[in-house]
Amino acid sequence: MELDSAMLSRLLTSLTLGFHIIFATLGVGIPLMVSIAEWIGIKRNDPHYLLLARRWTRGFVVTVAIGVVTGTAIGLQLSLLWPGFMQLAGQVIGLPLFMETFAFFFEAIFLGIYLYTWDRFKKPIYHWILSIPVVIGSSASAFFISTVNAFMNAPQGFTLKEGVITDIQPLAAMFNPATPTKASHVLSSAYLTSAFVLAAITAFSILKGKDSIYYKKALRFTMVASFVFAVSTAVIGDFSGKFLAEYQPEKLAAAEWHFETSEGADLILGGTLSENNEVKYGLRLPNFLSILAHGNPAAEVMGLDQVPEDEIPPLFIHYLFDLMVGIGMFLAGISFLYVLMARFKNFNENNNMILRLIVIGGPLSVFAIEFGWIFSEVGRQPWILWDIMRTGHAATTADNVGLMFILFTLLYLLLGTICIVVLKKMFKNNPAENELEQLSE
């Protein structure tokens, strides 16, 4: 691996996006959870749900701040690190990027209002209405940015002749073949992760001996939501696999270590590769790859033998794919178990075993997001614009990228650490018990 400007730009982009995506994901999902909780609270006249909405919002403000500043960083870095890409692609895909900022604008305005008007209206439902633009704004911004990323995977809507772009159709570029699966999987996984992270925090409190009904309601609510989103994420993930089989078969083949084109292809879980690409120790699920790729156990799946040597993505993405899917199954399983046990009265769904698993599920869901993105982005290599522009040709030629990489690493370490410290302090200084007491007065 040579550390030239292009490689360093890739590293710096990965660093910023990898950090941003944690906060961006929470920024998309938490408003939805807050809004539903407040709505239930108003409808059922249940102060516990209202308190839930308030406390989540308070923590959310801190994570949003980091989402905003790292998002600003990535927005500028795209031009700073990938000037060639932005100069070319900007002409075709500028529209959703621009619309994304409108969505932020809309969200930012109403978030400001929402935060400072809890007790300002006579009818509580007016305050709840203010949460809707926040939910729409954050989800719309995720949608728009996903279309940009989808475009990088399945570029269309223009003609390129000798470096000159003509015949541009912004809407065709935006609604490219990758958009439906990309945008819906991103949204669904963001909702899942947010619900699970909130559930993990609640489960952690219960494990610590807090036993108010407030926590139990919170856990039940977040678990039901997690289950719904886990199922939808897995189903849409399956469609994403079918998308890959049709439009980026080499990414799927690399992720599945599928070297030879064949019918009735097996799915390999885990394993290691020998020097001449033989799979060892892996678990083989017969015909499952054909099912994932085409929904038919006998279908033919393209292998890496059809891909030119210098266009084969790195093969380590296999593990990332397995980890993402594995975590997805785990999250769906736990939330299903919890919901099931809560339905039948003779089980205690709040037993230590299941609570611990929920606590682990929180960080795991964030890891699934990271693995998913790295899989998707590295799996697109060597292309920055699939089949059109190579990553190496798009990078900046400026020096000093290495130095910037170090500076940004320090910045994110600082922000990450302080974020955790501040959140901890915030909830320690003002435990839910205090506010619960005020409620009952």
């Binding site: 403000v61 500028g94 621009f98 932020f104």
Partner: protein, 339 residues
């Protein structure tokens, strides 16, 4: 008016929006820290945090809007500025990141940390200084194409008289805009001690603002005579700017109608900023990029304008609502509302 001109005007309006809102924010950070140092924080801190809390994120979006829109309308600027500004741009990003997140940490998390408010105050001055270099560079003479690569002539930048006078102007304007807005806000809050103090700040920073503007003109004449002579075509705008300044100062000095005074401050900067912008055209980056050479294609340009219109029809009512709730709601401003 052609699409290119509409595009750059829209972007310039948003940059102007950022100039005003961010200056208020940056200056407020500095005054808050200065208040801490001089043990006067009890006077100003409430006013400042009540205004800033709901709006800081909105301020940031003005900026994001500007640079995303610039790259959208004029993709070539990404190429030229992108390569040249890697280091100064990254530094500005880091400062913005520190400022934004520490604001949230200090306000929502651990309140009284001296270190947080130090960072918040200092970045408030460093950010305008570093962002203003982008405008300086746009005058040409700081970027060169060497063997197909774009290079920033850092040495020239740091030794240029013009460059330093722009930095100086940026700093004093930030403090002046901020102080005159906060004076108005304090008067709405009927907070007499804060009003007195902030009014003094506003008057103190007023004349340096004018002095710095003159300095920029003089150094522009040396640095880029072509641009300088073009500004003379727009002399009426700069005179208008001075006129608005005098009215604002008159009102603040005699303690009358602080709201109107602030509107005149906004007009002062509006005229100066648009006079500067208009005379800068057609160049985005002098000698390299014009709004015509960098323009995206016609289809995208029109799509962006349509999106802009649609977006604006959502944004304007929302912004009005935000201002009604937090700027023009006397009870909120006075701090008599529960959150």
């Amino acid at each position: 008016m052609d699409v290119q001109l509409i595009g750059i005007t829209v972007l310039w309006v948003f940059l102007y929006g950022y100039l005003v809102t961010a200056s208020i924010d940056f200056g407020a950070g500095f005054f808050a820290y200065y208040g801490k140092l001089t043990k006067k924080e009890h006077i100003t801190s409430k006013i400042i945090s009540r205004y800033l809390s709901p709006v800081w994120e909105v301020t940031n979006v003005f900026f994001v809007f500007f640079f995303v829109g610039l790259v959208g309308f004029f993709p070539d600027t990404a190429y030229y500025y992108g390569t040249a500004l890697l280091v100064p741009g990254s530094i500005a990003i880091i400062l913005l990141a520190i400022r934004g997140s520490f604001y949230a940490f200090a306000n929502y998390g651990a309140r009284k940390s001296h270190f947080y408010s130090f960072l918040y105050g200092v970045t408030g001055l460093l950010i305008p200084a570093s962002l203003s270099t982008a405008l300086t560079i746009s005058e040409g003479g700081f970027i060169e194409e060497q063997g197909g690569e774009i290079v920033l002539l850092t040495q020239n930048l740091f030794t240029s008289f013009y460059s330093w006078s722009v930095v100086f102007l940026a700093l004093v304007s930030v403090l002046f805009i901020s102080a005159s807005f906060l004076t108005f806000y304090a008067s709405r809050a009927e907070d007499q001690p804060a009003l007195e103090l902030l009014r003094k700040y506003a008057l103190f920073w007023s004349f340096p603002t004018i002095a710095a503007s003159l300095l920029v003109f003089i150094s522009l004449q040396q640095h880029n005579p072509e641009h300088f002579y073009k500004t003379l075509d727009y002399a009426w705008m700069f005179i208008g700017s001075l006129f608005c300044f005098l009215i604002a100062i008159y009102l603040i000095f005699y303690g009358k109608r602080y709201g109107v005074a602030f509107i005149f401050v906004m007009l002062q900067f509006f005229f100066a900023f648009f006079g500067y912008g208009a005379s800068h055209l057609p160049w985005i980056l002098y000698d390299h990029v014009t709004i015509y050479s960098a323009y995206t294609n016609e289809t995208m340009g029109i799509a962006l304008i349509v999106a802009f219109m649609a977006g604006l029809s959502l944004l304007i009512p929302s912004l009005v609502l935000l201002m009604r709730l937090f700027l023009f709601d006397a009870e909120y401003v006075k701090g008599e509302r529960k959150e």
